[in-house]
Amino acid sequence: MTHWIILPIVLPAILAPFFIMVIRHHLDLQRIFSVAGTLALVAITLGLMGQASTGEIEVYELGDWPAPFGIVLVLDRLSALMIALTTVLALAVLLYVIGTDWDKRGQHFHVLFQFQLMGLLGAFLTGDAFNLFVFFEVLLIASYGLMIHGGGGTRLRAGVQYVVYNLLGSTLFLFALGTLYAVTGTLNMADLAERVAALPADETALLRVGAVLLLLVFAIKAAVLPLHFWLPASYANAPMPVAALFAIMTKVGAYSIIRMYTLVFGPDVAITHGLVGDWLLPAALLTLAAGTIGVLGSRDIARLVAFSAIGSMGTLLIAISLFTPQATGAALYYVIHSTLATAMMFLVADLIVERRKGTISYAPPMPQSGLISTLFFIGAIALAGMPPLSGFIGKLLVMDAAWVVSQVWLIWGVILVTSLIVMIGFARAGSLIFWKSHDAALAQALVEERKPPEPSDEGPPPVSALPFVAVFALLAGLVALTVFAGPVTDYTAATAGQLFDRTDYIDAVLKRP
């Protein structure tokens, strides 16, 4: 048993109190340690991913208490993939935040950031349902602080909504866990899986209630219609780089659905058979449609990206709701793509909002308009799922996996039509923001309408290159995901295979030969 698995949780948990107790007044030092810590996390998680890619399931028993009595951390292909994705995304967001001085606009950004990472990584690694709840709370309480970072009336009010909604979700989570415990007497996921499968059929009514309650909780996190209402207002009013980090938070919900409903309430468990997938598929289709309509109707860039995040969750959940190894493999590929693309688009949106207002309307041209418009264009291609970027491959994989159900044409239709609408929405926003501002007559009218800009002595303020480095890093990730689609799909297919072969996981956790 190596101790590497616990490091992604312990390292941020040590760094954050260190920031607040020792170097709370030294932002430069905090930045250095925060970047160094996140770099170390990237290295550790990539190392763990290399270890997990052999197919071995590594189990870490906290306090050396054997499962199911103690809490275990489990490293399999799925959790390794998710933690590596989280830390890579976190590094890009952190560089962007430092480059744009977002961390100067409020207090304790780096502290909250590290706690957020701790919660995320813990949620992906844990093998215990109640421990999953605890890590959910850790990541949520850090996200409350990050969400209102920088203050401002609208942001604070959106923050209240976000917190209230998530507290309700947490309460529901506890009800669900209580129900499961009352029926099975355990909360260890592997043990749960065994006991659920062994339960006599006439005693399962309460268990099914628990399973559906738990699905509702994860659906809130994953912003599935009709439980998505918290997302547009929260993400659009949060600081944009924080929203970029939150791109992984909806994926925590998706991850939990994959984990619980393949391991515990798997497709071969008779009592909950069809209970989840049959409900999740229509909800996912509606989520995709609603997100897409929101993209078309948004009047500012932040809401536009927030709704496209909902849309991409819809596509992801369509793949998840099929619960076949092929579909889950496609879903995992789409998870990587959707996280990187959404985060990149939020960062591009921040570049725009920082230079002009975020509304999708005419405004005088902004500095670096050409570069930003190119990035916006590429991000829009990725999010709409057009070739040549990974969104296209992802959607293709999802649609190819949909042959197993009778509603295949409905799924194809919704995915293709929504792709078109997303494209129209982004094209409309992009041309209004970038092209109309170069319309000479219009620009002249705008200049006359407003007060002439005050003549500045030193020219435009110097622009840091670091934000663009961060955006290009995410873009490079998308390109790499496209170029190396073969190896990545091999990995995700192997991951799905491991997920649907539950005995390996259960035997590894419960220490059976």
Partner: protein, 127 residues
Amino acid sequence: MELLVASAVAILTASGVYLVLRQRTFPVIIGLSLLSYAVNVFLFATGRLALNMPPILTNHAIGYTDPIPQALVLTAIVISFGMTAVVVMIALSAFLTTQDDRIDMTDAAPDETTEGSETVPVTGDGA
């Protein structure tokens, strides 16, 4: 006893849900507290109700009460206490900034924002 616990959970949950649906932050926060009390009592009951039993199995005890729900409740109490404190602080600062404690955002005008460029006005179709 079972009836008492069950009706306590039911009444707390019903009142909590009613209060959460109110329009101002204070009743909503009270509602959240009631819901968290409800879930705490509910968690106790998940280990089955047992009177005057030790939480460990010994040779002398005639039975035992399940200790795990008690540990879960302790964790849940601590978390919900901390979360309530956070939501009170955020709601208070939102109220002090905007002079408005309504929880919906339909009337949030752009001029309510204290800072300009990075705060995006809400267009009115918020949750």
